[in-house]
């Protein structure tokens, strides 16, 4: 069984948000309710001000604090390393949203970010929040794995495109969009990323490209001190001198 993980090379990321829109369309997200997002920051003053950005999917932690706090066990860790939500069990209590250190969980029953509200323009049926005219084929709806159009009253999150990667051939080390027979199994954000700043593969396979990148370019994890142990690694700089993360063992 694979342990899926993502590597994001910050030296290559252009901050374009193609990951965000690819995710939004693939997962029928409400406008601005971005499972995958790019956060922008700045510091300093003109003429030497600094603009930065940070691409952020769900970290699919090894020790997810969201899972620990969920009172109904709706949110859970899968055998292949994903953190998912069973929408049949979720009661929308939002404990997980408070427990998550990364802000990557979404409860979207309130006021829309963009008006007019698309939910009024493309109304959904039953508990479906809306029905976008470009929505995914109906047979993709999979509430057990939190896949499909988010119903009202539940929390949702990035699934690493579970509906794609769960169909990937068993035993592959990496899901690389440049390999024609694998591209349909690659998460949307990885597949779309124009500068190819994203890589997706098996963290349990020492021969995977993602593990080699983490090793060669000194991959780090966000807020590593929380002990959540994200399965998303960031590459930056690649110098030998670096801040050791919790994955590092003293030599």
């Amino acid at each position: 069984m694979a342990k899926w993980g993502m590597v994001i090379d910050l030296d290559k990321c252009t901050g374009c948000q193609a990951c965000t829109t690819a995710c939004a369309m693939e997962n029928n997200r409400l406008p601005g309710e971005n499972w995958q997002d790019v956060l922008f920051y700045h510091e300093g003053k003109y003429p030497s001000a600094k603009l930065m950005w940070f691409p952020r999917p769900c970290m699919h932690c090894e020790h997810p604090s969201c899972v620990d706090v969920c009172p109904t066990r709706a949110t859970y860790k899968t055998e292949d390393g994903l953190v998912l939500i069973d929408w049949n069990k979720c009661i929308g209590c939002k404990y997980c949203m408070i427990a998550c250190p990364y802000g990557v969980r979404f409860y979207v029953d309130e006021r829309p970010l963009v008006e007019p509200d698309v939910r009024g323009v493309f109304p959904g049926a039953g508990r479906g929040m809306w029905s976008p005219p470009y929505r995914a084929p109906n047979d993709r709806e999979d509430w057990v794995h939190g896949v499909g159009i988010q119903p009202s009253g539940v929390v949702s999150k990035c699934t690493f495109c579970y509906h794609k990667i769960s169909k990937a051939p068993k035993g592959v080390a990496d899901l690389d969009e440049d390999i024609p027979e694998l591209k349909e199994y690659v998460p949307a954000c990885v597949r779309m990323c124009p500068p190819k700043a994203r890589y997706f593969g098996d963290l349990d396979n020492p021969a995977s490209h993602v593990n080699k990148l983490i090793a060669d370019k000194r991959g780090v994890r966000l807020l590593d001190q929380t002990g959540n142990k994200p399965q998303v690694y960031y590459l930056s700089g690649g110098a030998g001198a670096s801040v050791p993360g919790s994955r590092a063992a003293k030599t």
């Binding site: 920051y41 084929p137 440049d178």
Partner: protein, 835 residues
């Protein structure tokens, strides 16, 4: 704000009963009557779980023409990814690409042809459109055109177009004008697009074109005012290249970027230079000065002093007789007349940049091969744009990058087959010698009273029409352009459109449609069959085919067919021509016959294979300059050495066959240029510093860039694009366009972050929300131009937030570069106050 703070904030969003962003996002839907033209709620296509079909097509959300794989299941488009087999896409897309499915299903799009029933026109006048049949619509247009022709007034019909794609749409417009008899069919939008670079390059190397670039082999990029990671085409491929240059490439390519605010391009570069608007040419002149004084120029391409001793010393003239020029003309004269005193110290004062940064940039650019200097609108949409552009492009000559590996070149065209019929065979006496022949174009393009050297002057149409000089138009048709929103001094277009019969062909309810008498809606792009030769890319010939992923959802018609159907209704041989042409698919099929002899690298050899793969291309580019000599591809390599005559014919297309720093083209028209501009006829042919003529009368520069989410005019009505519109300054989640203003400028005016502000020029005022930021120059206000729509769909008008909406071209004065014809979009100065 730290990362941790921001995460806490977003985590807390669920606690907000009503977010501030949401409250700001509520807009007045100003024209409910307009919206009722369409169904209030869109009916989604049938559901299903059948087989998924992938159609190979091309995107339509910028000029780049990326190959797309359109995923359709049971007739419903539900995903768009980049085509892996397409040379531009390589499986990737920019952030706009995936949103294309939304454009197809836009609930505000027109459902069929309509005519206006309210004779009054204006922003506040509901057109009261009623549906009509295509026959009635086409007969109405043909009737008007036949009547004008019968009266000898055919010149009073104009067809204005913007994003022309290929031979089956824009390519048909020229023959239509010649057969019908109007100098105004067509008038392209290039002068409100980017002619500043096209004409600057034409003046220097004879190629009136954007450049193709070999970035992957370049070791240095100097990017001036081009928004390489936001707007410069092909955006998607630029980012692929960026990832390679900054990731895998050995050695890593160093990049300096120049702009007026800190955008993602500048932030991702090695050096960001925040330059005073309109002074980019001064920076380029100083870089050239350093390249020459420090002996960094490429001797194999440029030439050298006969004795090999560098005599370029600051402030000292040089004897031209002592220098042998190779592929440039006029270098020593340029030095003597302009460059010798253009030091980094001088440029630092003009540009406000640090002298140290200018010198370092110059040494890196001059000392790294291959190096590319590229520029676009930021540098040339000013009164001095021709010179800014020429100064920057000349840097490419100085370092020998023209047609070199890792340099820049020009795009080859596709080997299309001939059209089914020849327009020349269908010209009647009127077409050949009718009264229309004596009329100039209404925009006075190519006329000595107007813009003799320009390619188009679309921005002059409204002004000239209103003045009746050279004459008044009667009927105006629009294809993929919306100058009533996007031209400088846009309100002038509202006045013009009130006076003429307006035919719009957009599928979307834009401002032009709001002023239209007749709407003949096009298919949206996922419904079209349409050819599109590549924009300048990597030089090798390539042409794409837009292939319908679904049958048209509504009663719309591809513009190419609308034109043919109008043509069939014209009297005389013109009607016969269009009957023989038959339809646009017939045109495309004939184009594809050219591939029978020129098999594409991907096996495309005719119409069916082109349609299956969506692209024909054939590598490589045919020419290369190596070490100061030019070679042609012989089938195996760049082996065949070219003669100077061949170089002149194919590559350096100037009178001298050289890169003319002393521009023969400008010299030829020196008397006219001097008369129109007051420039010195003895030196106006050289790249030089000239103070820009700022317009508008204010104290802050006003710059209105394109953002990554622009989507060729549709971004403002795409909810997901709205939510991601201006991320660098926190325009996340439907705050709409924010006016970036520096803290010092804001404080001096009593403006705080988030305040509603009024931006005024001599033309009037608009309102926007202030984002007080250190990312923008203290003397400049930046407001992206996508917002402020007073039509264009329910989300677009909601973002405009009422009458004071941020329609930037309300306050941008209509001034153009007299040589290039480029509208001076970024040269306005405004006053800013709290609203």
């Amino acid at each position: 704000m730290s990362i941790a703070d921001d995460i806490k904030l977003s985590r807390r969003r669920f606690l907000q009963a009503s977010g501030a962003a949401g409250a700001l996002g509520i807009g007045l839907n100003k024209f409910p009557g307009f919206v009722t033209l369409t169904e209030a709620k869109a009916a989604p296509p049938p559901a299903g779980a059948g087989a998924t079909v992938i159609t190979k097509s091309i995107c339509h959300q910028c000029p780049a023409r990326c190959g797309i794989d359109v995923y359709t299941t049971d007739g419903r488009v539900h995903a768009i990814y980049g085509s892996s087999e397409h040379p531009i896409s390589n499986g990737k897309l920019c952030p706009k690409g995936p949103l294309g499915a939304y454009i197809l299903y836009d609930p505000d799009r027109f459902k069929g042809p309509m005519k206006r029933t309210n004779p009054k026109k204006g922003r506040e006048e509901d057109p009261k459109f009623v549906p009509i049949s295509w026959d009635e619509a086409l007969d109405t247009v043909a009737g008007r055109l036949n009547n004008l022709r019968a009266k000898g007034e055919s010149h009073r019909f104009a067809l204005l177009f913007g994003r022309g794609w290929g031979a089956s749409c824009a390519g048909q417009l020229g023959p239509f004008g010649e057969l019908y008899g109007s100098p105004n069919v067509p008038i392209g939008h290039s002068s409100i697009c980017s002619d500043g670079s096209v004409v600057a390059k034409q003046c220097l190397d004879g190629n009136a074109s954007y450049s193709a670039y070999d970035y992957r082999n370049a070791n240095y990029l100097l990017i001036v005012g081009a928004g390489f990671l936001e707007a410069f085409r092909p955006y998607n491929n630029n980012m692929q290249v960026w990832g390679y240059l900054r990731g895998e490439k050995v050695p890593k390519t160093k990049i300096t970027a120049v702009d007026v605010h800190l955008n993602t391009t500048l932030a991702a570069s090695d050096r960001a230079l925040l330059i005073k608007p309109g002074t980019d040419g001064a920076l380029a002149l100083a870089i050239a000065h350093v390249i020459l004084t420090e002996g960094l120029w490429d001797r194999a391409f440029v030439g050298d002093f006969r004795d090999g001793v560098n005599r370029f010393k600051t402030g000292q003239t040089v004897d031209p007789a002592g220098f042998d020029e190779k592929w440039v003309r006029g270098l020593i004269e340029w030095w003597n007349i302009e460059l010798k005193n253009r030091t980094p110290k001088w440029a630092a004062e003009v540009t406000t940049l640090a002298e140290r940064d200018i010198v370092e940039t110059a040494r890196e650019f001059g000392g790294t091969r291959p190096a590319i200097a590229l520029f676009e609108r930021g540098a040339h949409t000013h009164s001095n744009g021709i010179y800014n552009g020429m100064a920057i492009h000349t840097l490419n000559a100085l370092v020998g990058s023209l047609f070199a590996k890792g340099g820049l070149m020009y795009q080859m065209g596709p080997p299309y087959g001939p059209m089914p019929v020849k327009a020349d065979d269908y010209k009647d006496e009127y077409a050949k010698n009718g009264p229309w022949k004596k009329f100039p174009r209404v925009d006075l393009k190519g006329h000595e009273d107007g813009y003799l050297l320009a390619k188009n002057m679309l921005q002059e149409v409204a002004r000239n029409h209103l003045a009746g000089k050279p004459y008044k138009l009667d009927t105006v048709m629009f294809y993929l352009t919306n100058p009533v929103f996007s031209a400088p001094n846009a309100p002038q277009w509202e006045e013009m459109l009130k006076e003429v019969f307006v035919i719009d062909t957009s599928p979307f309810p834009g401002e032009t449609a709001w002023m239209a008498d007749l709407v003949l809606p096009d298919h949206t792009y996922l419904e079209r069959l349409q050819d599109a030769p590549t924009y300048p890319f990597q030089g090798f010939p390539m042409t794409q085919l837009r292939v319908p992923a679904v049958k048209p959802l509504y009663d719309t018609k591809y513009f190419g067919d609308t034109l043919i159907e109008i043509g069939k209704r014209m009297k005389g041989p013109m009607g016969q021509y269009y009957k023989a042409l038959n339809n646009s698919e017939n045109v495309v099929r004939h184009l594809a016959k050219g591939f029978e002899k020129e098999l594409g690298d991907n096996g495309v050899n005719g119409f069916e294979s082109w349609k299956a793969k969506g692209v024909w291309y054939k590598k490589p580019y045919h020419w290369r300059q190596i070490g100061g000599e030019f070679y042609e591809w012989d089938g195996r390599g760049y082996n065949r050495r070219m003669t100077p005559a061949e170089v002149k014919d194919k590559l350096l297309k100037t009178e001298s066959g050289k890169f003319e720093i002393r521009s023969g083209k400008l010299e030829h028209e020196a008397a006219w240029i001097a008369r129109m501009t007051g420039r010195d006829p003895k030196r106006l042919m050289f790249p030089q510093w000239e103070e820009p003529k700022y317009t508008g009368g204010g104290d802050l520069h006003f710059v209105t860039p394109k953002t990554a989410m622009h989507a060729e005019g549709r971004g403002a009505n795409l909810p997901t694009a709205i939510a991601l519109f201006q991320p660098t300054v926190g325009g996340h989640g439907a705050k709409g366009a924010l006016a970036e203003i520096h803290p010092s400028a804001a404080k001096a005016r009593g403006i705080r972050d988030g305040d509603r502000i009024r931006i005024k020029s001599a033309l009037g005022g608009i309102e926007a929300y202030a984002r007080v930021t250190e990312l923008t120059r203290p003397d400049t206000v930046v407001l992206p131009f996508e917002y402020g729509h007073w039509a264009h769909g329910r989300w677009a008008t909601a973002q405009a937030r009422g009458k004071g909406g941020a329609h930037v071209d309300t306050v941008v004065v209509n001034q153009s570069d007299r040589v290039t014809g480029m509208a001076n979009y970024y040269t306005a100065k405004v006053t800013v106050e709290k609203a």
